[in-house]
Amino acid sequence: MAIIESNQLLTFKLGSETYGIQINKVREILTYPIVTPIPDASRWVKGVINLRGEVAPIIDLRVRFSINSEPIYNERTIVIAVKTEDARMIGLVVDEVSDMENVDIDKLYPAPDMGTSIAPKYLKGLFKKEDKMVVILDIDKVLDKEEMQKLSQVSLETSSHVLAASA
């Protein structure tokens, strides 16, 4: 099935780096709401919120990709609500939303094997904007259902192991 990929990007910042996601994945941009924590979730899953009548998890990409492990949440914290290919609504916490960009999605630079804080398998590619590199996230890979389930459980185990070891 040929899907015409959107060539409009929403760019946002995680730490000092600029990232982009395809605009057709974005449903809403909201300020950080009151989040209900999930008891057995890992640190990057902040909890769940009510997003248009659905219970949607909030994921902090900064913690997820170890860009900032102790972020501050206030009324200026931004959440981008995205909808994945398999129709899951998920909120992503980012540092700031920057701009909209038009890019030709077929003419991206391939993601480098190293040098980015996010593993290449989560990236769609790079593009250049006024001498700055913008990394385009493959949101469906980042939020892959199975991987998320596995990761949130694994990280819980490791954190309890760490606790046990330190105790």
């Binding site: 709401p33 769940v48 009510n50 659905e54």
Partner: protein
């Protein structure tokens, strides 16, 4: 049939021709009308009529078949006849209507189903099929409306002007009522009668009974009790399984039943009722019951329980062993049941629906399976509780009682990590919610907080919480639609302030501990 009953010998041989010859005298026996009215085959029309007349005269004999006699007889029966001429007219009427009645009687069997189909088509024209997701979407919208309403209500609390404040509150109450009515309306759309579930069983039972060569009388009650459509899908399989089991293992063969002095035909009852905001479905058979000794022996053999535990178990607990995975006491594996997979699946399916199964059995007299389900998967009455800084929701239907325990009531077992609440004659395991949910509680000592005794499947568990809050209705939303399920959490809901509340899954809260 040529002639009406001849037993009395009083009927002369009556030929078609001779009868017709007397036609003129009959007057009201207008052949054409009769033949039309009475029969499709005109020639034999009057035989029907004869039979009819016979009936009218209450089977009394009359020597000659002529109208005078007939009328005489009729006269005897009801004495309103004054004049013959009038009689004729009346008689005609009586006969006609009787004929109509008469005709309608043998046809009854045919007409009834026709009527039914007619009713069905009528209903079909005034009802539509709607995708469940559309109703869910409506429900979501109402949920949003509820939240918007409570936001507005909260806003009025901050208003300074008392007049406007009270006026506004009044109108808000009105909206609240309408929202509730709307919510109930949408809920009722989701509900369909239990008949839909029951109607599948007669065939299953007939087929299985045939295969097993048993005689089974199936009866069901509570057809009009309504159940959430979403629930039915998850309910059909477990019910079928229980029914098949009851037929295969429960109800004995005709010979054995006769030997036991029972009616050859076994009875299988299925009933549905609503009580205390719960749906109760019972499947009852009058078979041999569960052989508890055998089940227990098998459970010990399969390592499901220890011999020492078995000795302490009540009969009720022993019967519940049939729900353990991998347990079957059937000597032979048949295609109906006996593979040892199934009853545990029944249990897990029912649990998935937020319900519980119980079995009562008496050897020689049969077993009763009781399935308790929440009325709907969409709305729940819950109690807000607080643990540390977090709030959770406990389903009201699960709560048995709550208490502020004294230290003497708590016994520590083994590694001092497991605590048991001694409540009257019962020993109830204590679950500290703050440990399950990894949060910092306000109170560490059990005697400082509150223990809420809840049903967990067929057992009881005492949950340790810091505080009780208010009671409220919640619209249940799945947690795993966008994320995944969390341990001890059965679902989520949107609270009045727009945040998400988590609903505690009392069924599975023990598992990790």
């Amino acid at each position: 049939m040529l002639l009406p009953r001849d037993e009395d010998g009083d009927y002369g041989p009556l030929e078609h021709g001779s009868f017709k010859n007397d036609d003129d005298d009959f007057g009201f026996f207008d052949e054409s009308e009769f033949v039309e009215n009475l029969s499709d085959e005109d020639g034999f029309g009057f035989f029907d009529e004869l039979e009819l007349i016979e009936e009218i005269s209450d089977d009394e004999c009359f020597g000659f078949f002529d109208e005078e006699d007939l009328v005489q007889k009729k006269d005897d029966d009801d004495e309103h006849f004054g004049f013959f001429n009038e009689e004729i007219e009346e008689k005609k009427e009586v006969l006609k209507s009787s004929v109509a009645e008469k005709e309608s009687i043998p046809k009854d069997k045919d007409t009834k189903p026709k009527e039914r189909t007619k009713v069905k088509t009528d209903m079909a024209s005034s009802s539509i099929r709607v995708d469940l997701s559309k109703i869910d979407a409506l429900m979501n919208n109402i949920g949003e409306l509820v939240i918007a309403h409570s936001m507005l209500t909260q806003y009025t609390y901050m208003m300074q002007d008392q007049k406007i404040k009270s006026d506004l509150s009044e109108r808000l109450d009105l909206i609240d009522r309408y929202i509730r009515e709307l919510q109930e309306g949408v809920m009722s759309v989701r509900m369909i009668p239990m008949e839909t579930v029951f109607s599948k069983f007669p065939k299953v039972i007939r087929d299985t009974a045939k295969k097993l060569n048993k005689k089974i009388d199936f009866r069901h009650y509570g057809d009009s009790v309504e159940i959430d459509k979403a629930m039915i899908e998850g309910l059909t399989d477990p019910l079928t399984h229980i029914v098949r089991n009851a037929m295969d293992h429960g109800i004995e063969s005709t010979e054995r039943r006769r030997a036991a002095g029972k009616n050859e035909t076994g009875t299988l009852l299925m009933s549905a009722e609503q009580a205390n905001g719960q749906m109760i479905i019972k499947i009852q058979d009058d078979g041999s019951g569960i052989n508890l000794a055998k089940v227990t022996a098998k459970a010990i053999q399969n390592g499901i329980i220890e011999e020492s535990t078995a000795a302490q178990m009540s009969n009720e607990d022993k019967a519940m062993l049939i729900f353990a995975p991998g347990l079957s006491t059937a000597e032979a594996v048949t295609d109906i049941s006996g593979r040892g997979v199934g009853m545990d699946v029944v249990m897990s399916n029912i649990k998935k629906l937020g319900g519980a199964v119980k079995v009562e059995t008496e050897e020689g007299f049969g077993s009763t399976f009781t399935i308790v389900l929440p009325l709907t998967l969409a709305i729940l009455d819950g109690l807000n509780i607080r643990v540390g800084k977090e709030h959770y929701i406990l389903p009201l239907s699960a709560i048995v009682e709550s208490l502020n325990p004294e230290e003497g009531m708590i016994k520590q077992v083994g590694d001092k990590e497991s605590e048991i609440l001694m409540l009257r004659e019962e020993f109830i395991p204590v679950v500290r919610l703050h440990t399950v949910f990894h949060i910092e509680p306000e109170y560490q000592k059990l005697s400082d907080g509150i223990l809420v005794v809840v049903h967990s499947g067929t057992k009881k568990v005492a949950l340790f919480v810091d505080e009780f809050m208010n009671q409220q209705q919640f619209v249940i939303k799945p947690l795993d639609k966008n994320f995944r399920n969390a341990h001890g959490i059965g679902g989520a809901t949107v609270r009045g302030d727009g945040t998400i509340g988590l609903i505690i899954d009392t069924m599975n809260i023990m598992e990790k501990n």
